[in-house]
């Protein structure tokens, strides 16, 4: 590492100090808080609950519980009048803990927390008793159901009495973002972030930008030249002074946490030219060549007027402090093992990417040739390396089969077949497919075009892929056959001069970025979001966002859309200069901590908790709330119960257990 970076460390310390303050807050607040005055509100849910549960009896039982100042019922607690009842009681009766016995918390927890907040109460002083999903909808005996509802309410009251006000964890955030990967997604995210005013470091491992799109000719759905799209993106990104581009650079390691990450980068020497890499596989050279052509100036060894790309010639290391990271590392193309559909054995069997390059180089108006032989018929096979079937396909180098659909290859293949028929109307095209998944706007049109252009479709079953053999003594060098679903499963054969495999997208190796941060991946190997619908571009690791195909197969439109979403999320996270996190993390009571460090040993998360020196000379555990995930593993092992989870204390759980058992025995004894 060239230069040690003190700055981020300093920031981290600051964050720590600030966090300690946050930690102290609940205790202060607790001191201020009065004795718990619990309000219990039991909902009829318009009959959904009251048809089975005797709601009035539950409220009457609740009123007898210690700490409860009022227990009321309402037809719909979530309605405006229902909410008003709570607000009034807070104002008039001094209710300072609220229990609503109603539907599942997933439905209205935030609704009722909102009432507390609007009434000037800390929203974390709310607890729910789920007497609809867990009682009235699952038990039909009225007595039994009422008894259970009462028990759940008493447990909720027990917990509510022990709730303390909490504040979200706030940590200072650096107004800078690292975008890893310089494909369309990375470029889009970088530009959006810079426009929002953040400093962006764009890190690309290759010497040129653009990723896979740099190797494409025309882009579906509207046949826009890939070069145009990419030039616009590159120019925008390179013209923006807030974006620093590091090509030929990889992430060595990452440390820190949301708001204060530090990326350690390795940049390779730049003087290397493409021609000077004789042992590189020839396909790579042509494609890189092509990229350099298209993106002159960002390529190796070429100076670009006031280019922000480092111009020195030696390999070097750098460190970049950022508040958030956008992963835009893209995908890898599936590489068929030798012999799959004749790949690697028959020279006429190529991938779709090779085909695109080949077609773009064939002069119009002639008979196209491949390896000097005329091409009169071309076959395309869909789903190569995608939608693989257990027991039919061999697991790849990663030990997995690829069950996922790569989503872009159907339309890309149709688009290519149309391009072929347009450019060379005498060349026959065949497509072997399972289903046509042309799902996007303007995609299905390419299927229409292809069928009207007399592309002949043959449908195979995933469990019985087409067979490919050399056409010995035939008019065509390659024969492809399948049990054609459109011809009642008859075996149908075609002769072709070129066989194109629509190879799918597989998860790329994200490298040290992923290992350093332990980024979760899904079963198919792609980086995984927290929730596909609710938090679609966020990673479980706070501050890491997903853009483009590193998450799942996407086309350019979708890649850019997710990149913009990731940029917006990153901006939202960092805009205020502070990051707010859930307060449900561990906290240590220094009074009780005797310095056993059992918690530190047990904690599964690096740097979430550590022993710190106290002014009085003792060593006590201290939690870093920015890193602590709130699992509670530490809580279970502390011999002095000095550590607890905010909002989910062990003491509260024990009180709930007592309350449940008390109601269980009492009520049934009635």
């Amino acid at each position: 590492m060239a230069e040690p970076t003190h700055e981020p460390q300093a920031k981290a310390d600051e964050a720590q100090a600030e966090a300690d303050e946050t930690q102290a807050k609940p205790n202060e607040a607790q001191a201020e808080a009065d004795e718990p005055r619990v309000g219990v509100y039991v909902c009829y849910c318009g009959g959904n609950i009251s048809d089975v549960v005797d709601v009035e009896a539950v409220a009457a039982e609740a009123a007898k519980l210690p700490g409860v100042v009022t227990a009321k019922t309402n037809m719909f607690m979530c309605s405006d009048p229902g909410q008003q009842v709570i607000a009034d009681d807070i104002a008039e009766l001094g209710v300072n803990r609220v229990v609503v016995a109603s539907c599942a918390p997933s439905l209205h927890q935030t609704t009722f927390q909102g009432v507390l907040e609007r009434s000037g109460l800390n929203p974390y002083l709310y607890e729910n008793a789920n007497i609809r999903e867990q009682v009235s909808w699952t038990h039909h005996d009225r007595a039994e159901a009422t008894k259970k509802a009462s028990a759940l309410v008493s447990a909720a009251v027990a917990k509510a009495s022990r709730l303390e006000p909490l504040e979200p964890v706030e940590i200072p955030a650096a107004p800078a973002v690292a975008v890893v990967g310089g494909g369309v997604a990375g470029l889009r995210a970088a530009t959006d972030l810079a426009k929002a005013g953040l400093a962006v470091t764009l890190i690309e491992k290759e010497l040129t930008l653009g990723g896979t799109v740099a190797r494409l000719d025309n882009l579906f759905p509207y046949s826009e030249p890939a070069e145009d799209v990419l030039c616009r993106l590159c120019e925008e990104a390179l013209a923006d002074p807030r974006i620093t581009v590091h090509t030929g650079t990889v992430v060595e390691s990452v440390e820190g946490y949301v708001g204060a990450f530090t990326l350690h980068l390795e940049q390779q020497a730049r003087g290397r030219t493409v021609e000077a890499t004789p042992d590189a596989d020839s396909r790579e050279i042509t494609s890189l060549d092509w990229r350099c052509e298209a993106f002159r100036g960002y390529g190796p060894g070429e100076a670009f007027a006031d280019e922000p790309v480092a111009a020195d010639d030696a390999a070097r290391a750098l460190s970049v402090p950022v508040g958030a990271i956008v992963a835009a590392t893209g995908f890898d193309l599936y590489v068929p093992p030798e012999g799959e559909y004749g790949y690697g054995r028959l020279p006429q069997v190529i991938t779709l990417l090779d085909f695109i390059e080949w077609l773009s180089k064939q002069p119009e108006g002639s008979v196209p040739t491949f390896n000097g032989q005329p091409v009169r018929a071309v076959g395309f096979i869909h789903c190569v390396g995608s939608r693989q079937v257990e027991g039919v396909h061999e697991p790849g180098p990663n030990g997995r089969i690829n069950e996922h659909c790569s989503r872009v290859c159907c339309t890309a293949t149709l688009h290519c077949a149309c391009d072929l028929r347009d450019k060379f109307p005498d060349v026959v095209a065949y497509e072997f497919y399972q289903d046509i998944r042309a799902y996007g706007r303007g995609h299905e049109e390419h299927y229409d075009r292809a069928s009207l252009a007399n592309v002949i479709f043959l449908q195979y079953d995933g469990a019985q892929p087409p067979k490919v053999v050399a056409g010995e003594g035939d008019d065509h060098p390659v024969l492809v056959s399948c049990l054609d679903g459109l011809t009642w499963g008859e075996e149908v054969e075609v002769g072709v001069d070129l066989l194109v495999l629509a190879v799918g997208m597989v998860a790329a190796d994200v490298g040290n970025l992923a290992t350093s941060l332990k980024l979760p991946v899904s079963a198919d190997g792609f980086l995984q979001e927290v929730h596909p619908k609710l938090r679609p571009v966020e990673q479980a690791v706070n501050g890491v966002l997903l853009a483009g195909t590193c998450q799942a197969p996407k086309d350019v439109t979708e890649s850019c859309a997710s990149a913009s979403a990731a940029a917006a999320k990153a901006y939202g996270l960092l805009a205020s200069g502070e990051v707010k996190l859930d307060p449900y993390v561990a906290h240590v009571d220094p009074e009780l901590c005797e310095g056993h460090a059992a918690c530190v040993e047990e904690c599964p998360v690096d740097r979430a908790i550590a022993m710190e020196d106290y002014p009085d000379g003792s060593r006590k555990a201290m939690v870093n709330p920015a890193i602590c995930t709130g699992c509670g593993a530490c809580v279970a092992v502390c011999p002095t119960q000095a550590i607890d989870l905010s909002g989910w204390t062990l003491e509260a759980y024990e009180a709930m257990v007592d309350a449940l058992l008390l109601s269980h025995s009492e009520v049934s004894a009635l």
Binding site: A104, T138, H140, A155, A540, P604, A636, L661, H664, A669
Partner: protein, 146 residues
């Protein structure tokens, strides 16, 4: 503390993770799938928070069975599930030493849509604790109850 009177159903405690099993319990409710009412669900971020003593206390206080419904390997907290399995194994041994059937403590993974698994676990535990309760009642009738 509050030993359940003989005539009540033996109570069962369900520790359900917020990200998985608690959502499955909601799904059971949404599907109106009836099951024994002597089950009490407590929502927890990760059950690894409970020390060994918590389980012993629960049994001592009167729970007849405990089902820990975790997210299994889907656990959003890295490292938590591995620690939890170790703890539960240890507590089961402890229960044996205390003369309690270790089957009364069950660790299982229930995903957000696992309504069938949820019901299966509940019903199995219910059958187990009822059988044990009636066996105990027979012994009690036999005369030499303390």
């Amino acid at each position: 503390m509050h030993p359940a009177p003989e005539q009540t159903e033996p109570p069962i405690l369900v520790l359900a993770t917020s990200s998985c099993a608690y959502i499955a319990a909601d799904a059971v409710g949404q599907a109106h799938l009836e099951h024994p009412a002597n089950t009490y669900v407590m929502r927890v971020p990760a059950p690894v928070v409970f020390p060994d003593s918590f389980y012993y206390d629960c049994f001592e206080k009167g729970f007849a069975g405990i089902i820990v419904m975790s997210c299994g390997h889907e656990c959003p907290y890295p490292g938590a599930f591995e620690r939890l399995t170790k703890r539960i194994d240890r507590v089961k041994m402890g229960l044996k030493e205390r003369g309690l059937d270790p089957a009364r403590l069950r660790l299982t993974a229930v995903c957000t849509v696992c309504t069938k698994a949820y019901l299966k676990e509940i019903n199995a535990m219910d059958a187990l604790v009822r059988a044990a309760a009636s066996a105990a009642a027979v012994t009690a009738d036999g005369g030499d109850a303390t």
